[in-house]
């Protein structure tokens, strides 16, 4: 049963991610990325990460993708240009990575799972509580740095997208 769900989500994720790259219209690409985000959230549920599944739907599908669609419809681009001439390099690099993945998965994949400590069990008292415990104690400093990163990104986005920030002559 878990195999069935995994293969369903995996096939849909792989197919929609290929569609994101292959489709000609950016709106269709963004919508197939939306489908992919929902299926990644389903994959998180099968991995007992329910809180992350909710965050995935809310943040990715709700905020980031809406921003993408907003910009796509704001710019109203043509859809004539598609690929550029860098595809031999892309083919070589992709083939190398694929071969590396195949070799690594051929060599060994089945070592015994290490015994994790029962206190940090992912599905112990509840996923959200465990996540909050770790996030606000062990990873408190990276959490603050992440908030600083969001602040910097917000200010940067405002400055970059604003037309005349310091009067009309300051912008080039």
């Amino acid at each position: 049963m878990e195999h069935f769900f995994f293969f369903y989500f995996a096939v849909i994720i792989a197919a929609t991610s290929i569609l994101v790259v292959a489709l000609r219209n950016p709106i269709y690409s963004a919508l197939s990325l939306l489908i992919m985000f929902f299926h990644v959230a389903g994959l998180y549920v099968t991995l007992h990460a329910e809180f992350l599944a909710a965050v995935q739907v809310i943040v990715y599908a709700g905020a980031i993708l809406v921003l993408y669609l907003f910009v796509v419809m704001l710019l109203n681009m043509k859809q004539d240009e598609r690929y550029h001439r860098q595809w031999p390099a892309a083919a070589v690099t992709g083939f190398l990575l694929l071969a590396e993945g195949a070799v690594v998965s051929m060599i060994k994949g089945r070592s015994a799972p290490p015994a994790g400590d029962a206190a940090a069990e992912a599905g112990g008292p509840g996923n959200t509580e465990a996540l909050g415990d770790v996030l606000y104690s062990t990873y408190l400093y990276p959490f603050e740095v992440a908030s600083l990163l969001l602040l910097v990104a917000m200010i940067g986005a405002i400055i970059l997208a604003k037309r005349n920030l310091l009067g009309s002559e300051a912008e080039t």
Partner: protein, 101 residues
Amino acid sequence: MTVPVSYYLVLSGVVFLTGMVGVLIRRNIIIILLSVELMLNATNINFVAFSEYFHNVAGQVFVFFALTVAAAEVAVGLAIIIALHRSRSTINVDDFQLLKW
């Protein structure tokens, strides 16, 4: 967890590969940013799979940080796209050659 972790790694590799090929071959700069999102999602799948495999919740915490980076990247990247489209009125990456040497 009856599904072995290598299946998740293969899926993540396929998604990451697709995103990287998209970054390399597409000309539309919005599709390039969407491909970067694909790659970030591939790493997130890896993080969650290993978090389940090692029974350690720290992998899911790092998904949060990757999510933060993704949100910041989208905000700044789309602002750059809007600024580029305003100054050049195109978003084809072949037309932006100012930094090419």
